[in-house]
């Protein structure tokens, strides 16, 4: 509840007055440029949304992937090759189709929307990775954005991206995926940085407000841990 009220309060404040700036995160600034260049070059942007079940704890990273996909789709609808989103969970692939469709609709080019832009490429982790590799190889993608719930199979996707000389940005909520992506992807978002994608890609004031709410909760948790340790040392807890 504290989190809820923090977020809505800051969002309401943010509507009227400018919110303080955010620290710079390199991968996001590079992503903005790369998207522009790839749209100009007529190349495709490939979004790997991972295989997170939308009814599980990992669904949060999938929502972030869907939000970033919608932002990119708005920019890339004018490209010769519209973006394609691959996912490893059936319900996530249906959500990706819905998100792409609403992005096209908001840009007024709903007629150009193609159902196969949001694709299920495999139902197990490795079959999903192999399906994504064939999309990277066949459909001339220039940028591979891997945001979502992955396991160690994401190394295959990052490796295929490097073999094709693509720019890549990766982030996951899974610890193993973050570790392997740190070494194999060009730009890596670590831990909570991935959840700031909405705010850095200007998806709305609530995204930005939630970052400030997260910062507040962060310091509350730190305070709670320190107080707990003190009480523990004093034998009270």
């Amino acid at each position: 509840m504290v989190f809820f009220f923090l977020m809505s309060g800051i969002a309401l404040y943010g509507n009227k007055r400018p919110l303080p700036p955010l620290r710079s995160i390199n991968p996001f600034t590079k992503l903005g440029k790369s998207i522009g260049i790839s749209v100009e070059a007529g190349k495709r942007i490939h979004l790997a949304l991972g295989r997170g079940l939308i009814t599980s704890v990992n669904a949060a990273s999938s929502y972030i992937g869907l939000n970033v996909m919608q932002r990119i789709a708005r920019v890339a609808t004018v490209s010769d090759r519209p973006p394609v989103a691959t996912s490893g969970d059936a319900s996530l692939s249906l959500l990706s189709q819905d998100s792409l469709k609403s992005a096209y609709r908001s840009m007024g080019v709903q007629s150009q929307f193609n159902l196969s832009s949001g694709r299920l490429t495999g139902v197990t982790p490795f079959s999903y990775a192999v399906g994504a590799i064939s999309v990277i190889n066949d459909e001339e993608s220039a940028i591979d954005v891997m945001l979502g719930n992955f396991g160690s199979e994401v190394v295959l996707i990052a490796d295929a991206s490097e073999r094709n000389g693509n720019a890549s940005l990766a982030g996951s909520d899974q610890l193993l995926a973050q570790a392997v992506l740190y070494a194999s992807s060009e730009d890596t978002l670590i831990g909570e940085e991935m959840f700031a994608a909405g705010a850095y890609l200007k998806s709305g004031v609530l995204h930005r407000a939630s970052l400030y709410a997260q910062d507040t909760m962060r310091w509350l948790i730190i305070l709670g841990i320190l107080i707990g340790v003190l009480l523990k040392l004093m034998g009270i807890l």
């Binding site: 700036p21 939308i54 997260q214 948790i221 040392l233």
Partner: protein, 234 residues
């Protein structure tokens, strides 16, 4: 496993395994036809298995059996998800896919609860309490907290806090400069980044060891097959 004693089916399976393993290994040389065929078969087979397993494990026991057994209360409990599931079928057509939105909305709603509930009850509380419990008396009942263990616990506490501080987002902007966080926060996040680098390094080594074990198993499989074919006197 001695291949001489294998029956025909197992032998075919073993030979298929050999072919698929070598096809996948050929990806090292670059994307080629062998690899693409093997991975296409894999995608199809995995999807087929998943469909059949979800029918056997979910639809039959939780939808068809209650409908067939005719228990009225179960009928209602099954009718609503069935209706929502049928709406999902419209997702296959571009024009009518909007009719499937309520089903997806329901799934997203349940998922959101799992996300928030799971994160709070499954991670924030357990991890915070675990960090606090580090400073508790050790379970063997030794007198209080040993100095050595206190130092270890303090290191873990500092690492956890600095790692959390590394993700701090809001900053201040002086004219003509990049937005930067408050100086103490920058220092703490620098220490946190060292802890994160060590953590990711440990995890990376773990994944590498697992992958190496898988490679060992595959090489062993190939060697045994070649050895037994050699034994059979091809």
């Amino acid at each position: 496993m001695n291949f001489a004693e294998l029956n025909l089916a197992d032998l075919i399976g073993a030979v298929l395994g050999l072919v698929f393993t070598l096809s996948i290994f050929s990806y090292i040389l670059g994307d080629n036809m062998l690899f693409r065929i093997a991975s296409s078969i894999f995608i199809g087979a995995a999807a087929g298995f998943a469909v059949i397993l979800s029918i056997y494990n979910v639809l039959i026991p939780q939808v068809i059996v209650p409908l067939l057994e005719g228990d009225s209360s179960n009928m209602i409990l099954v009718f609503i998800p069935l209706l929502l599931s049928l709406l999902l079928v419209f997702k296959l057509s571009p024009k009518l896919s909007g009719l499937g939105n309520p089903s997806m909305a329901f799934l997203v709603g349940v998922g959101v609860a799992a996300v928030i509930g799971g994160a709070i009850t499954g991670t924030i509380f357990p991890q915070s309490l675990a960090t606090i419990h580090l400073f508790g008396k050790s379970s063997e009942g030794s007198s209080g907290l040993g100095i050595f263990r206190f130092i270890e616990s303090s290191i873990i506490l500092m690492g956890t806090i600095t790692t959390l501080v590394y993700f701090h987002f809001s900053a201040r902007q002086k004219p003509g400069q990049y937005p930067r966080r408050w100086e103490p926060i920058e220092w703490l996040s620098w220490i946190g980044q060292c802890f994160i680098a060590v953590t990711l390094g440990v995890l990376y080594a773990g994944v590498l060891l697992s992958a190496l074990a898988a490679l060992v198993e595959r090489v062993s499989f190939l060697w045994k097959l070649v050895e037994s074919m050699y034994m059979i006197g091809f």
